[in-house]
């Protein structure tokens, strides 16, 4: 489908690119001959297998053949194809099943075999024949496709497999209009309406983005979802209004998902990284396009679930596909309602009609999670007491119906696409909803035109104390999106009038997220109801100046030369920026940046391991030091005192390192970076001791009188003797007793009297062998 100029694509649009069925070369001959009767000239279906495959592939790639096949379709098949084409050709199986049923192109009949057994089957189903003739091509062979991770049963109550309309046919077919499905409008008068404007939505998202961009990145889990501590820090730093009950669960996680989908946040390794360019593009788009983009983000959210919030790991993996599919069904239903105009609907009626169209799904894969809001649907009451069809229906409302209610009345209200209200006064009045103007355009595309862009209005009052009062009812999403990036708010308060504050931090974060000083000033001047206070202008200039005066440039290549002449000679032949007397700054790692015979250090890879450390703390070099090695050694070691005594780790050098702010982990890290072999354990513990890590128990060293009793029985008798106890002090190990010094002679006399022979020399075991590590060779 080629959209008309200026018109947007349907929300569920996914273009078909397939022309050839997967595994064509390995197909049995029967299906090949069957397809050949559609795609090849008469008589060619009996060709030998290899020729047949070759001819078929050629025809499938040919638009003229596709046009001929299109002309051969029955009117019903053509209508099915046009319905597929409405969505670009590739459609979720659950959505297309409902769509074709709503159009009367699929119909279910019930055959009653007994009182307890009713079989439901298709009265008519043109899909099977279209699949056999390769007008619809299965996407499920492709294992890379997300919907292959789970499967439904078959039969009329199951979603259709995901098929693609042949791309050559899709491009030549006029797409169908919206499916003729609707529900009666509500009669009651809406009270206590909850709604959010595009400006409020953009404001919240831009505030979350500004936080992220100011930090550059936040930690992510392995699966790409935000790490728990990072999410909690975000919640604390950027309070968001969760609105009145029912509240949106985990609005920060939702914001991150939406921005990830829109490309404002990317996953790099274990971090979520802000993309300032993408944010600048997104937040300056017209209101409708921003809303459309957030709606697409909601459809594809993988780690945030309607009604329950952020999930990680297995839950996210298991439920993301089914939840995305259910969101598409909801988007399809709202798309149908969007064409009916500006109307309020009762929630119960909507769900009842949706259920009636669904039938009883043979299996449901929506998550069994406790949802934050229970809409207490009348149709879900007494589900335990029901039986048969009534029981199935009540359970559908209890689970699927409640999930749809959470998505419709909470998630989509938070996105500003739906408004909710009580249709009448009092708590007993039915719940109702209607699509907002933006919602009608987003879900009703391409037939429903986007609302006109709000006129640019001066909606800010900027005060000399740096407070900004924003009248959001006069602001569009572009204005709000910009404001959220340059000003901060301590309050989670939402509403048409909000107060913000310009601070050095907020302006710094805005500039770090890609906005320039000139853009910020121009925005404030354009939207301020009065002239900007002079002190505000001065501070903005001062803050920007401070940022410009201190910068960290990473990913550069530094070339260092022994002399300025060498450096200048290099610059005569190569590009780069002179830096000081000896250096050139460049970027990348291209050939121009290679210097023959130079020491090469990769700051983001393995460092040069060219040092050796012995137990004396002496460091020997196997190659000359580079700037990094020399600078690090200068911090932690005593410089060479002579040609014979090189760099050395000493107590004094470590004290100096500690005084300079170096922590033990950094010192160990530096040594580990450059040592060819691990540091001797004695020096490793000495470094900790020098830097006073842990302040553990002191070592003890003193004179002692020891009694060694090699025989086990003798040792036991002496150690436990009450007569000898006054002479003994402690038992340092088996066979050994510590004797009170002053009783040495007396104990000797007693033991000799008892018949023991006393020797004056101690015999003991050898010390354990010395481990031969780097620098510990005992020679």
């Amino acid at each position: 489908m080629t959209p008309s100029p200026g018109r947007s694509l349907p929300l569920l649009f996914a273009p078909s690119t397939r022309r050839v069925p997967g595994g064509l070369e390995h197909m049995r001959l029967d299906p090949l001959r069957k397809a050949a009767r559609t795609w090849l000239d008469a008589g060619l279906s009996s060709l030998p297998r290899e020729d047949l495959i070759s001819r078929l592939r050629k025809a499938l790639e040919d638009d003229a053949a596709a046009a001929r096949v299109l002309r051969s379709l029955t009117s019903q098949e053509r209508a099915v194809a046009a319905a597929y084409a409405r969505y670009g050709g590739s459609v979720d199986g659950q959505v297309i099943r409902l769509d074709l049923m709503a159009r009367g192109l699929l119909e279910i009949i019930e055959r009653k075999y007994s009182e307890h057994y009713i079989q439901r089957q298709w009265k008519q189903n043109p899909i099977t024949a279209m699949v056999e003739r390769w007008i619809l091509l299965s996407e499920e062979i492709d294992l890379g496709y997300s919907y292959s991770s789970y499967s439904y049963g078959s039969g009329p109550d199951s979603p259709l497999p995901r098929y693609s309309l042949h791309a050559g046919i899709a491009r030549q077919l006029e797409p169908a209009g919206p499916a003729p499905w609707s529900i009666p409008p509500a009669a009651g008068i809406p009270e206590a309406i909850t709604r959010r404007s595009p400006a409020e939505v953009a404001l919240d998202l831009s505030r979350v983005f500004a936080y992220l961009a100011g930090r550059g990145s936040v930690k992510a889990r392995k699966d790409g979802s935000p790490a728990g501590p990072a999410l909690r820090a975000l919640e604390k730093a950027v309070p968001l209004d969760e609105g009145a009950d029912p509240r949106l669960p985990d609005p920060h996680g939702f914001s991150l998902e939406l921005m990830r989908s829109a490309g404002l946040i990317g996953v790099q390794g274990s971090e979520l990284v802000a993309d300032a360019t993408a944010a600048a593009r997104q937040f300056t788009r017209p209101d409708f396009l921003q809303m459309d983009s957030w709606a697409r983000g909601w459809l594809s959210a993988r780690y945030w679930f309607d009604g329950s919030g952020s999930e990680q790991g297995r839950a996210a993996l298991a439920y993301a596909g089914p939840v995305q599919s259910a969101r598409k069904v909801l988007a399809w239903a709202l798309g149908c309602l969007a064409h009916a105009g500006d109307r309020w609907y009762e929630l119960d009626t909507f769900l009842e009609r949706l259920h009636a169209l669904h039938g009883h799904p043979s299996s449901s894969h929506l998550p069994y999670m406790e949802l934050t809001w229970d809409p207490r649907l009348a149709a879900a009451r007494d589900k335990e007491r029901q039986s048969g069809d009534a029981r199935l229906r009540a359970w559908w409302f209890s689970k699927e119906g409640t999930w749809y209610a959470n998505a419709l009345m909470v998630s989509l209200v938070a996105l500003g696409l739906v408004e909710r209200a009580r249709l009448g006064r009092g708590e007993s009045a039915p719940l109702g909803f209607r699509l907002t103007e933006s919602g009608r355009a987003v879900f009703g595309a391409p037939e429903v035109a986007p609302p006109p862009e709000p006129a640019q209005r001066r909606c800010l009052v900027i005060q000399p104390n740096f407070d900004i009062v924003a009248y959001l009812d006069q602001a569009g999403a572009r204005t709000a999106g910009f404001l959220g990036r340059i000003a901060e708010s301590d309050s989670a308060h939402s509403g048409p009038i909000q107060t913000f504050r310009l601070t050095q931090t907020s302006v710094y974060q805005a500039e770090e997220s890609g906005l320039s000083h000139a853009q910020i000033v121009e925005f404030l001047q354009q939207h301020s109801q009065r002239e900007l206070p002079a002190n505000v202008l001065r501070s903005l200039a001062d803050w920007s100046g401070r940022r410009e005066s201190l910068s960290i440039r990473s990913g550069v290549t530094v070339l260092a030369f022994p002399s300025t002449a060498d450096r200048d000679a290099y610059l005569e032949r190569h590009a780069g920026t002179a830096c000081g007397e000896h250096c050139v700054l460049g970027s990348g790692s291209g050939k121009a940046l290679q210097l023959p015979g130079a020491l090469v250090s990769r700051h983001l890879g393995d460092r040069r391991r060219t040092l050796e450390l012995d137990e004396q703390g002496q460091i020997s070099l196997t190659q000359p030091l580079d700037l990094v090695q020399k600078s690090r050694l200068r911090r932690i070691a005593q410089p060479p005192r002579s040609a014979a005594i090189g760099w050395q780790l000493t107590a004094a050098s470590m004290r100096r390192a500690a005084a300079g702010g170096l922590k033990p982990g950094v010192v160990h890290g530096w040594l580990s970076d450059h040592l060819a072999r691990p540091a001797p354990p004695l020096i490793a513990v000495a470094i900790d001791a020098w830097l006073r890590v842990g302040r553990g128990r002191p070592l003890e060293l003193a004179d002692a009188v020891l009694l060694h009793i090699p025989e086990k029985d003798q040792f036991q008798a002496i150690a436990t003797s009450p007569r000898l106890r006054p002479f003994l002090l402690a038992r340092p190990g088996p066979g050994w007793l510590v004797v009170h010094k002053e009783t040495r002679k007396e104990l000797t006399a007693v033991l000799e009297e008892l018949g023991f022979t006393m020797a004056r020399e101690l015999t003991h075991d050898e010390l354990p062998a010395i481990t031969r590590l780097a620098g510990t060779d005992p020679k």
């Binding site: 910068s551 700051h603 580079d626």
Partner: protein, 92 residues
Amino acid sequence: MARKKALQPSASDPLNELLPLAEPTAPEVHFGAAVLEVSDPAQLLELAGDTAVRPYLLCRLAPQVALVDPGRADDLADVLRRRGHTPKILKS
């Protein structure tokens, strides 16, 4: 010659004690490096004198440019922000 002499660090220069000027003895290439640039050399003295910041800086490549300890540019940015600075972050 006079210009060169003026740039010779004096032994009593506190900045040279804290953050010496790089004096390579052989050609070197450092890939993926990070540098800290300031508009005024006095800023480097202020930063190098701060023991929370100094471990992240290795040496000066120029009077206004310091080489950042490998792999720790992001940590340096965090420390600077925590200490009230507003560094401009540039990634090549």
